[in-house]
Amino acid sequence: MNALLNQRRKATSAAMSALCLLCALMVILPLLLVLFHLARLGASSVDWNFLTHLPKPVGESGGGMANAIVGSFILVLLAVLIGVPVGVLGGIYLSEFGAPRLNGAVRFAADILNGTPSIVWGIVVYALVVVPMKGASAYAGGLALGLIMIPLVIRTTEQMLALVPASYREAALALGIPKWKSVLHVVLKTAGKGIVTGVLLACARVAGETAPLLFTASGNQFWSHSLSEPVASLPRQIYTYAKAPYGDWHRQAWAGALVLVLFVFAFSALVRLLTRGSNLPVAK
């Protein structure tokens, strides 16, 4: 009787383990499928022509996404220029100077910003920048992405700075170094790698954003020669081509998607590379 019960219990345990394994595999399956299709449908189209040519008119084949790739770089660069100073300095305040209640409020507000859907950022920046500037521009797109970056960078900076042992700060103060110098030269330098990884992850996130760019940076079939012009970007170009019926455009959409995914994964790989061998835990 006991033996039967035990057998049943063991069987249940084995069955549940198998079920959980199955679920774990199912969780990974979409990723594998997406990567498989990206490789199969996109890899053959990522050629020199694709990487260096501008889009061709509707229905003609042979175009490329060169301006979109460069445009994405420009937008991420602008986002970094806006998001990193504000984010890092804000994180420094939270970690080094803040009071508990104020910090709680700031973290709460940062969470709200983090949870704001990116389409909302798009329409807000449209009203703030595009309408007064009378046009879509790289500035507007970069601003939208930068605003998305700010709460992310604040969070990771604060976490990384919190990991610097208090003894470092105390030692610096004991040596008579002014607080601001100690923060910049001692604490920041120690946490530097972690902060950089946080910034890189935020870059990876905003590089793939499409919704905020729809109405702010819009699109451009040519090279953008100025930041106050609309600029093509990889996610938006993928979106435009994906909706279309032309086989050639679909092919290019997959190629663009492959390039974008490789960029995003490259950022993550860079993060892992930077954090290898580091004693301090880093942003994930």
């Binding site: 219990r9 345990s13 549940m16 383990s17 079920l19 959980c20 394994l21 679920c23 774990a24 199912m26 969780v27 990974i28 979409p30 990723l31 499928l33 997406v34 299709h37 984010g87 300095l89 804000g90 803040g98 700031v106 507000a109 940062a110 969470d111 709200i112 910003l113 983090n114 949870g115 704001t116 859907p117 990116s118 389409i119 950022w121 798009g122 329409i123 807000v124 449209y126 009203a127 008579g176 002014p178 601001w180 923060v183 990876a204 996130r205 793939g208 954003e209 499409t210 919704a211 729809l214 996610p235 979106y239 994906a242 909706k243 998607a257 995914v261 995003v264 994964f265 993550s268 994930k284």
Partner: protein
């Protein structure tokens, strides 16, 4: 040269102005988050003013979306958002929790890191790429195999009646499920890892099988954390724009069938914002109001999630796209 003589400690006093200036600078930057929240709220209010004045609270209960006659209502979009997000959560939650159990309790040690890395990779795939894959690969497959089967077997339910187009609320729910699985899995993992080993050991000591240990020692106490993980996933699901827009079907007609095309708050704004033209003030105003509703729903969900997850660990994952 290395001896510390007292006279070397006579240094000029540290600069007070430098400290004060630096503190002020960083304080300003930290205050920026409040400024940004205020800006977002203000712009959305300002933009939705024509619609707020015209419809007031009834905006939330009207099902009409008629740009020609200027009648707008958020109900089709709210309906679509809730149905697709909740259904997506329903699909994702059991899978994620089970996967998290496997990764923390049952998996061999060598498997854990790579599996976690793979899940993080899924989290980092941009929404538009998942949308492209969804549009071109997933939805045609769903249309060819599971959907006809569902309609054959469960077609007596109003949920599964009607034309099967492919892009529909159910497809949106599936894509959302794929997108929120990483975040729910990783938060659940954190929740399970926070359970002290002593509880597991106690259960083993009492002779429990592996599954029983998991059930009694880990799952029982983690309900709150899992609920919080679900809420965080829901928060992410509500704001999903691109992938959903590409597979939801974009129809403003509310239908009981899951196979019917629908719309969500985010997808409605994405498809219509650029050209709200017929009623210049009212149409864009209605779209801004959709944005306001979306922001409100997302904030409430995230607050609930924070209260539940709280001490377990800050979410590190990308938010809605």
């Amino acid at each position: 040269m290395n001896s510390i003589a007292p006279q070397s400690m006579l240094l000029p006093p540290p600069s007070r102005t430098g400290d004060a200036a630096f503190k002020f600078l960083t304080w300003c930057m930290a205050m920026m988050v409040f400024v940004l929240v205020a800006v977002v709220g203000w712009e959305l209010f300002r933009g939705s003013e024509p619609s707020l004045r015209q419809f007031g609270w009834r905006f939330l209960t009207r099902a009409d979306w008629d740009p020609v006659s200027g009648a707008f209502g958020a109900l089709p979009f709210m309906f679509g958002t809730f149905v697709s997000s909740l259904l997506g959560l329903l699909l994702a939650l059991p899978l994620s929790v089970a996967a998290a159990i496997y990764l923390t309790e049952l998996a061999p040690g060598w498997m854990r890191q790579p599996a976690v890395a793979l899940i993080e990779m899924l989290a980092s795939i941009p929404s538009v790429i998942l949308g492209l894959w969804g549009m071109v690969v997933l939805v045609p497959w769903l249309n060819a195999h599971p959907y006809p089967w569902l309609q054959r077997v469960l077609g007596f339910l109003p949920l599964f009646r009607g034309h099967v187009y492919g892009p529909c609320l159910l497809s949106a729910a599936v894509i959302i499920a794929i997108m929120i699985v990483p975040i729910v899995t990783s938060i659940s993992r954190e929740v399970f890892r926070a359970v002290p080993d002593s509880r597991r050991e106690a259960a083993y000591a009492l002779g429990a099988t592996r599954w029983e240990v998991t059930r009694l020692a880990v799952l029982k106490g983690s309900k709150r954390g899992i609920f919080g993980a679900a809420m965080l996933g829901l928060g992410r699901a509500l704001g999903e724009t691109m992938a959903v827009t590409m597979v939801v079907g974009n129809s403003t007609v509310i239908s009981p069938s899951l196979f019917a095309p629908g719309c969500t708050l985010a997808s409605g704004i994405a498809t219509q914002f650029a050209e709200a033209a017929d009623n210049f003030n009212l149409y864009p105003g209605a779209l801004y109001e959709l944005g306001l509703v979306l922001l409100a729903i997302t904030i409430v969900t995230n607050i609930l999630a924070r209260l539940l997850v709280g001490a377990v660990g800050a979410p590190r994952h990308p938010g809605p796209a």
